[in-house]
Symmetry: C2
Subunit: 257 residues, 2 copies
DNA sequence: AAGACAATCATGGTATACAAAACGCATGCA
DNA sequence: TGCATGCGTTTTGTATACCATGATTGTCTT
């Protein structure tokens, strides 16, 4: 079977007519997880998934309280089926907890959990940086990262801070993309959801971090210089520092996350 | 035959009495979330998910051929709804691809993909080993790992080889558990699905790897000695070697994966 | 008054109904 | 002959119906 194949389900049982019409691109839009279908045409499930995810990340739903399927269906103007589908996906990403006879709960962010997530990030993104430095030959993307690394923001200006969050995410995901390994990209992307959530929560208590322009830039530089060890170490330290900041915050303000 | 309309008799016309207030479930103590339902509680969706997953891993469905929802529903004696739910989950784990008007396809295993997955494993499991060595203080689990590391098997005895696969998975997941980081455990577990699939596919072409008893044991030893650097390096090399074997196989026999 | 118990109701899991769209086929027109 | 088009079938996405289960509350017993 497809040992050296291009990905693509072979059409298998049908040696029938070879469709020569490229009218309907077979590669087209299969609903993929990840960022694939940017397609304007989306299914309700997909929109619900995106919407719910966004809302959870933005802190619309306090992690303590329950949402029923029915309720969500109403709120997003759909029926229970798409809600359910979205919920299943979100649960697998640990953004939502489904408790059988209670409802859906936006997963709570504990200090313990924060530690775990940063630990995970340090592992995965450290490896990303190393790999990126090792195989890196996508100058275009590297340029893009260098640009993103510069992103600053006005303290206490929420809109600008939100732009920064986006840039930060783009930076880290971009780094993963440098490895050209979809799995790493996926892992980093998933983590970014959680990180964004934390950042939004931080805004909620009036805290705005600082743009790690220097750290980001150094990382890019290390990658450009093809110094895997350095890249890894810098990324690792960057993440550890990030954790320290957040933890200090979390301990200070206590239980708001 | 279409349109078998069913006039539904009015259900009890309840005069809609009191209470519509969502109560406050507060914070129960049910910490079930992490380990999926290990309890006897089986919903059809869950069983379907497990079953389908198992079958994909065991190579029951050749990656080329399409499965329709209807068909699967019949095969697993359920309706489309649970099938759908299971499929969504499996898709997120990259075990299944859902192609809109063609059906479900067990994801194909390309050489490229193999490289990616091993790369990912090297990153994540390397970090696991390091962390395990660093924080390790769960002697019980470490003993268990040492035991698992010894698992051998009779060449060309399928049953024994399957036991080995299980032990191998248990070993790697156990290592992740030593980090006490659920996210790492999850990541490793997810990868194991894919690895098992590869191993089963290897059986299919009459190949039985070799039990990496020595490598596993050395890793455990490094962890026990609290030597993070060594542990990481050993794990890394172990995985790279593993990849080399599989790739040699894949190139050699070509078309069976 | 406290606790066991029964009635009742919401909820979640599943099956099914319905609708829109895609594919396949065949036919018609150039 | 070849391409476009129309129709029927299949598939998929969504809504809804159904039912068992579990939760909540009020009542009764001690």
């Amino acid at each position: 079977m497809p040992s050296l194949k291009k990905t693509h389900p072979s059409k298998g049982r049908r040696p029938k007519s070879r469709r020569a019409t490229p009218s309907r691109p077979a590669q087209g839009g299969f609903r993929d997880s990840g960022a694939a279908s940017q397609n304007g045409r989306s299914t309700l499930s997909e929109r619900l998934y995106q919407g719910l995810k966004r809302d959870i990340i933005r802190g619309v739903y306090p992690p303590g309280e329950a949402l029923g399927e029915k309720e969500l269906a109403k709120r997003y103007k759909s029926s229970r089926t798409p809600v359910r589908e979205a919920a299943v996906r979100l649960q697998q990403e640990n953004l939502l907890r489904i408790v059988p006879n209670r409802g859906y709960f936006a997963s709570s962010m504990t200090i313990n959990w924060l530690n775990e997530i940063y630990e995970f990030r340090a592992a995965v993104e450290g490896a990303c940086a190393e790999l990126a430095a090792r195989k890196g030959n996508d100058e275009k993307l590297a340029d893009e990262l260098a640009r993103l690394a510069q992103t600053e923001y006005e303290t206490h200006d929420r809109a600008s801070y939100e732009r920064f969050i986006k840039a930060d995410t783009a930076f880290h995901i971009g780094m993963a993309r440098l490895t050209r390994n979809p799995m790493l990209v996926r892992a980093v992307s998933d983590m970014r959801c959680h990180m964004e959530r934390v950042m939004y929560a931080a805004i909620g208590i009036g805290y705005y971090g600082e743009a790690p322009v220097k750290e980001h830039s150094e990382i890019v530089q290390a990658i450009r210089n093809h110094d895997p060890e350095l890249a890894r170490r810098l990324m690792y330290e960057h993440i550890i520092q990030s954790r320290a900041k957040v933890l200090r915050l979390a301990y200070g303000e206590s239980s708001v996350l």
